[in-house]
């Protein structure tokens, strides 16, 4: 299991050092610093073996978090744990920075004592941790016996993510369908790979222990319902091509996985506040909101002509926002002249790119930029690698075509029904890695 956890600043100075196992000596702290942080060449793997000791590391801004072990640990678990540790710290004191870590080192030690025992990860749900580990010291001494046992049963219980007795005057929930659409396109406009990775994020302000059921236009469910035969006609009109094929999805631990596996229904008791209900991935029938058409011409050895056309491909009534096209330029660029039809374009020498920004763009429109790039003559034999043109944007629909069909709330003990809950749904599609080779 995990032998110890160290946190370093960018210089390699130790900020936190917690050792769980006897086989990890003090020299492990230095070994990682010398061999990884101060390594002459950039480390090429997140897992490093130094003298039969394994180090796992992740970096958050300029902070290094490293887990050390001498055993054959579950590597996936170690990284999941490190990410979780970052989440927990962030939810306690915000950004993970040297300053924040130094300011909260006592809290961090306390957390490390709680969520790792002998190197085994324990409960790491911020919701329940916050009930008994606080910045003002443990409430312990002021709690009644009932409160104490409520904490422990929540920490160890089946529903570790929600405490009992939550009350709201107004029962309300917000659903955000957040998708990032990824594309890799060849210069000729052939889709090399495209997928949408989506998240359903929920903010719930519900009283009691509500039982929720979430439904979307998942092809498998709709096909199943259609086969039911009772409302075959109606089923068709609602489903049709509206349904989408989900390649795979993963759920928050509150969702009953066995029920999803058998009936494909998503039922759960939600945590309080904001959390990610599910993630999913689709690859079929993706609406690609933008098409980028690049044209790069090398004029002699000292000049490049670039023309890029972007076309928006969605309903004209919708507006895309925060559009940014990034056209890479060679390292030996000496000057750039840009003309664009819309928005603003600038050559950013420090980033080796022309950045073209458009605030808003309606669907079914097209815009164009042309640039002349002057190059310094070099004796570098290697040709310019031509990194792909990348694009950023935000659109008010789900590129995968996912639609929320319902979210039902049942709370049998309290007297509010599904109709009393105010529900909000929002779809946002963003660019993930949206690249066109040129």
């Amino acid at each position: 299991m995990i032998g110890g956890l160290f946190i370093y600043n960018h210089k390699g100075e130790v900020l936190i050092s917690r050792v769980y196992r006897d086989d990890i000596g003090r020299n492990a702290v230095d070994a990682f610093r010398v061999n990884v942080i101060h390594a002459r060449q950039q480390v090429r793997s997140p897992v490093t073996n130094i003298a039969r000791t394994s180090f796992f590391h992740v970096k958050r801004s300029n902070i290094w978090l490293a887990v050390v072990t001498k055993q054959n640990v579950n590597a996936a678990m170690v990284f999941e744990f490190l990410y979780k540790m970052c989440d927990v710290m962030a939810s306690y004191f915000g950004k993970i920075s040297e300053e924040n870590i130094k300011n909260n080192f006592v809290l961090i030690y306390e957390l490390l004592d709680e969520i790792l025992d002998f190197g085994y990860p324990q409960n790491s749900e911020t919701g329940s941790l916050k009930t008994f580990i606080t910045q003002q010291g443990i409430k312990g001494q002021h709690q009644t016996k009932e409160e104490q046992s409520q904490i422990t049963s929540q920490v160890t219980g089946q529903i570790g993510w929600r405490r009992e007795g939550i009350k709201y005057r107004r029962n309300e929930l917000f659903l955000d369908v957040l998708e990032s659409v990824n594309l890799l396109m060849s210069p000729q406009g052939q889709v090399l790979s495209a997928h949408v990775s989506g998240r359903v994020v929920m903010k719930s302000y519900l009283s009691g222990m509500p039982e929720c059921k979430f439904g979307m236009n998942d092809k498998i469910i709709i096909d199943k319902a259609g086969k039911g035969g009772v409302t075959n006609e109606a089923g068709k009109s609602t489903s049709g091509k509206q349904s989408i094929a989900i390649d795979d999805c993963t759920f928050n631990q509150c969702v009953r996985l066995s029920k999803f596996d058998s009936e494909r229904s998503i039922s759960f008791i939600p945590p309080d506040g904001e959390y990610e209900l599910m993630r999913y991935r689709t690859t079929k029938d993706i609406i690609l909101p933008f098409r980028v058409i690049p044209l790069v011409r090398e004029v002699g050895r000292t000049k490049l002509e670039v023309k890029v056309v972007i076309k928006s491909n969605f309903k004209p009534s919708l507006l895309a926002q925060k559009i940014e096209v990034r056209i890479p330029t060679p390292l030996n660029t000496s000057g750039v002249q840009v003309i664009c039809m819309k928005g603003k374009a600038k050559y950013k020498a420090s980033e080796n790119a022309i950045v073209w920004k458009i605030k808003r763009m309606a669907g079914m429109k097209e815009s164009q930029i042309s640039a002349e790039i002057e190059l310094l003559p070099t004796n570098d034999k290697k040709k310019w690698a031509r990194p792909p043109i990348s694009m950023n944007f935000e659109v008010p629909f789900a590129p995968s075509g996912l639609k929320v069909r319902y979210l039902k709330v049942f709370e049998s003990k309290l007297n509010y029904s599904d109709h009393d809950v105010i529900k909000w749904v929002r779809y946002i599609g963003r660019s993930g890695i949206y690249e066109t080779r040129c």
Partner: protein, 865 residues
């Protein structure tokens, strides 16, 4: 006010100041002081001198302060065991505290203090805590047993904690179950044979129930534990798989990978024709692909595991090539792993896409990545024959870029392509030779030298090229030296006249001036070969080389099996068994996949052959024909007493082509029965079973008369001899050469094909003696067109007749005409064809002239020539 001030270094005498503060009456000041001590401890300062003062602060009702003191204690108790004992009372008292959080904290901390005296005091509180009413305390106590076991294993056994821990597997609280499982698994690892976990269907059922309810981490502990269980039969295996599959949708990648591990392992036991087997295979792909949208570090872990899964079960991800395409912004470690998997998944169906991608990658910035991409193009050429031409032209394009490392890498892979497709792409040699000067890496130099030597006859200035390398012979790496030696010897054998001097030079450099034993030995071998028998040398050095295998860099099957059992863990990241990087008793245990429920078993992959060495000096062209030439080879005095001539056994199926199964054999006719005598050798790492054999239709209708009798499984490195009786009543099809036989051999691993040639003599039947009158009549009747003549050398007549009879060639008559002995002979083949022969022997001349007359014979016997 912030805590970061504690990190600032203060002046000398800090320790004394801290001491004073720790003993202050004011609570706040005390707490501040302890914080400073902890901060100093963190940055590596030795604050052990403050031990008594810090321990004095332990008696407090301020939990925050208490925790800080505990942290200090865990760090320094070992160095101050006598002082640490002062803390025992507080611990024991805290274990009785009404607040479960404090009880748990005490037992958790006590377990971390590795001081014998404290450990003794721990037993009683631990016993109570294991049965505490509060699950939070129980789950902490469960882990504490593992801690205690790490300090004093005997104590844990004596105190009966193991039984209590086992009971906790049936606890009502899922987190307690999970921690108990984790603790037991760890303890069991250091007692490989203890059967501590005692997994049986009942306890498995409990674990599966807890699996649905516990935290994500608990699910990992339980799944990892489940993976060690071996179900009794395929039904149990299936029911566990059914209950584990929902975990594939968990948001935590580690839960997913551990579930994949359980499924991959238990799948081995499912019969392949089961519907569920197919369903399961289909279910595995999407979650594996989803892992690639995780954070990069996890992607890396996932990719290393997918690399194993793809080798074990290529069918799972064969349609998912695109997700492994490299993204421009992927970290380098993700890029390199993706590339590896792309090559493994490359097939005829997707090769065009893959090549386009690889070409793109070859222009990237990172040197390692570019090299690997170039190498990948070569591997595609070798793997997918249809793409070879495109690959070669892509490589040529890349060579034209003149980027040094790209050129070198390309030359190395082109050498391999030559090995795989001889006499096809040699036209590119000229382009390669242009880049000779830019090669500075040993591997590329060696590859280029090999090419020059191998194709010396087509390169006009081969001698000049090789000579240019010879100048700095002693500065080259061994690899290049050996290659240069071989290449020059090849050149000499091909163009002996112009290169005498060169070969002398290299031989003396290798044997006299070098102190590398390998080089010297090889030099001497060549020298002796060349000086004793240049013809033999030619046969050895210029022998036809076996083709290189398609798959390279495969993990050896037993290791692969073991790594599959370790999916998700460090072992699967390193691709090494735990014993290679874990010290002590842990991890020594080798895990194996369960044996399959049906014949299919485990479709182990071929043994991992790297690219074969560039030069195979041994000739593999052992005689395979074995016709009359052999029959008349009577020179040796060792007359075969009874039966027919039996050619020596030859290798029909090399292990390299048959995933480790080597077959050699011969044919014999014993007591009128044709027998195929086989020697099966298992050169793979896994056991082979279920052998079967089948023949293709052939000229004489040969067919196995019974099944292949290999009753016991063939273990690694075992050899078995079998003889298979043959009948001649099978379907007939004319083969070319006539005596060619195509054979298929099946075992639990795969079906393999080879062809061999049998001596026609084996078909000569015992009643082949023709009446003299009939013979005369027939001889005349046969038209001259059916006649063929040839000479056989070096025979002596004396023993010939007898010996031939042993092979069912019967002498009918003998006469002497003009000083020549004439023998008339008859042979009857198994399909009723008669062959009549006249053997003319000139006295004093050991040469024979054989004249053959065949009745109704369909074609000439090629093997006679």
């Amino acid at each position: 006010m912030t805590d970061s001030k504690y990190f600032t270094t203060t002046k000398k005498g800090e320790i004394f100041e801290l001491k004073a503060e720790l003993n202050s009456d004011k609570k706040e000041k005390k707490k501040e002081a302890v914080k400073k001590v902890i901060a100093s401890m963190t940055v590596g300062k030795d604050v052990s001198a403050l031990f008594p003062d810090v321990v004095n602060c332990m008696q407090t009702d301020n939990l925050e302060l208490k925790k800080l003191v505990y942290l200090y204690l865990m760090n320094y108790a070992k160095s101050q065991p006598d002082m640490a004992i002062m803390a025992v009372n507080t611990f024991v008292k805290d274990c009785e505290d009404p607040n479960p959080l404090i009880r748990a904290l005490a037992v958790r901390t006590m377990g971390c203090i590795r001081v014998d005296k404290i450990t003794e005091y721990l037993c009683e509180p631990l016993r109570k805590c294991l049965k505490d009413e509060d699950p939070y305390v129980r789950k902490t106590a469960a882990v504490c047993v593992a801690k205690l076991h790490d300090i004093n294993a005997q104590l844990v056994e004596d105190q009966g904690f193991l039984d209590t821990l086992k009971d906790l597997i049936s606890d009502s609280n899922p987190m307690v179950v999970a921690n108990a499982v984790a603790a037991l698994s760890e303890i069991a690892e250091s007692h490989p044979n203890s059967n501590l976990l005692d997994l049986n269907p009942q306890s498995i059922n409990k674990l599966l129930t807890a699996l649905n309810e516990c935290t994500e981490w608990g699910q990992i502990f339980i799944l990892d534990c489940l993976a060690n269980y071996t179900p009794r039969d395929d039904r149990e295996s299936q029911s566990i798989c059914e209950r584990v599959t929902p975990r594939l949708s968990h948001a935590n990648s580690a839960v997913v990978l551990s579930a994949v591990k359980v499924l991959m392992k238990f799948m081995e036991m499912l019969p392949k024709d089961l519907d569920y087997y197919g369903t399961l295979l289909k279910k595995l792909a999407p979650p594996l692909v989803t892992l690639l949208s995780a954070e990069p570090e996890l992607q890396y872990v996932a990719l290393r595991n997918i690399n194993l899964i793809v080798q074990k079960r290529p069918e799972i991800l064969k349609h998912e090539m695109k997700v492994f395409f490299v993204k421009y912004n992927d970290p380098i470690y993700v890029k390199l792993e993706k590339l590896d998997i792309m090559i493994r998944l490359a097939s005829q169906a997707n090769i065009a896409q893959v090549l386009a991608e690889l070409k793109e990658y070859a222009t990237e910035v990172d040197v390692d990545f570019v090299r690997k991409a170039v190498r990948a193009i070569g591997r595609c050429a070798i793997k997918v024959e249809q793409s070879a031409e495109r690959c070669v032209s892509t490589l040529l394009d890349l060579i034209q870029t003149k980027v040094n490392y790209v050129v070198q890498e390309a030359i190395v892979v082109i050498k391999d392509i030559f090995r795989k497709y001889p006499n096809k792409y040699e036209s590119v040699i000229a382009t390669l030779c242009e880049n000779l000067d830019s090669l500075d890496e040993p591997e590329a130099r060696a590859a280029m030298i090999w090419i020059v030597g191998e194709y010396a006859e087509r390169i006009d200035n081969a001698d000049e090229l090789l000579e240019s390398f010879l100048e700095g012979f002693h500065d080259e790496s061994t690899q290049v030296q050996l290659q240069l030696l071989t290449a020059i010897v090849k050149l000499f054998l091909k163009k002996p006249t112009e290169t005498q001097e060169l070969v002398q030079q290299v031989l003396s450099l290798a044997t006299q001036d070098s102190d590398n034993p390998d080089l010297r030995d090889r030099g001497y071998i060549y020298w002796r070969l060349l000086s004793t028998d240049p013809v033999a040398a030619k046969e050895v050095v210029l022998a036809e080389k076996p083709l290189i295998s398609e798959e390279t860099d495969l993990i050896e099957p037993t290791l692969l099996e073991e790594l599959i059992c370790h999916i998700g863990t460090l072992a699967s990241v390193y691709h090494k068994p735990p014993s290679a990087f874990v010290e002590g008793s842990r991890g020594v245990m080798h895990k194996r996949l369960p044996l399959g429920g049906d014949i299919g078993g485990s479709p182990a992959m071929g043994a991992g052959f790297g690219a074969a060495p560039a030069v195979m000096p041994a000739s593999l062209n052992a005689p395979v024909g074995g016709g009359l030439g052999d029959l008349f080879d009577l020179g040796g005095g060792v007359g075969m007493p009874m039966g027919a001539y039996i050619p020596p056994k030859t290798v029909w199926l090399p292990a390299m082509k048959a995933k480790g199964l080597e077959i050699s054999g011969t044919f014999a006719r014993r007591a009128g029965v044709i027998q195929m005598e086989l020697v099966l050798t298992n050169k793979a790492m896994s056991v082979m079973t279920d052998f079967a054999i089948q023949f293709n239709r052939n000229s004489f209708g040969l067919a196995p008369a019974g099944p292949l009798q290999v009753l016991t499984p063939l273990g690694p490195n075992q050899t078995i001899e079998v003889s298979l009786p043959l009948s001649t009543v099978g379907p007939v099809m004319k083969m070319d050469p006539l005596n060619n036989l195509q054979v298929a051999v099946k075992n639990n691993i795969d079906v393999f094909y080879f062809s061999c040639q049998y001596p026609i003599s084996m078909l000569f039947v015992e009643d082949g003696k023709m009446e003299r009158q009939v013979f005369l009549a027939t001889w005349k009747d046969i038209p001259n067109d059916n006649e063929s003549q040839f000479q056989i050398q070096d025979c002596h007549l004396n023993s010939a007749s007898n010996k031939l009879q042993g092979s069912n060639i019967f002498t009918i008559a003998k006469r002497t005409v003009e000083g020549q002995d004439m023998l008339y002979m008859s042979i009857k083949l198994s399909n009723g064809i008669w062959v009549l022969a006249e053997l003319k022997v000139q006295a004093g001349n050991p040469n024979y002239t054989v004249m053959l007359n065949k009745s109704k014979y369909i074609s000439s016997l090629r093997f006679f020539q």
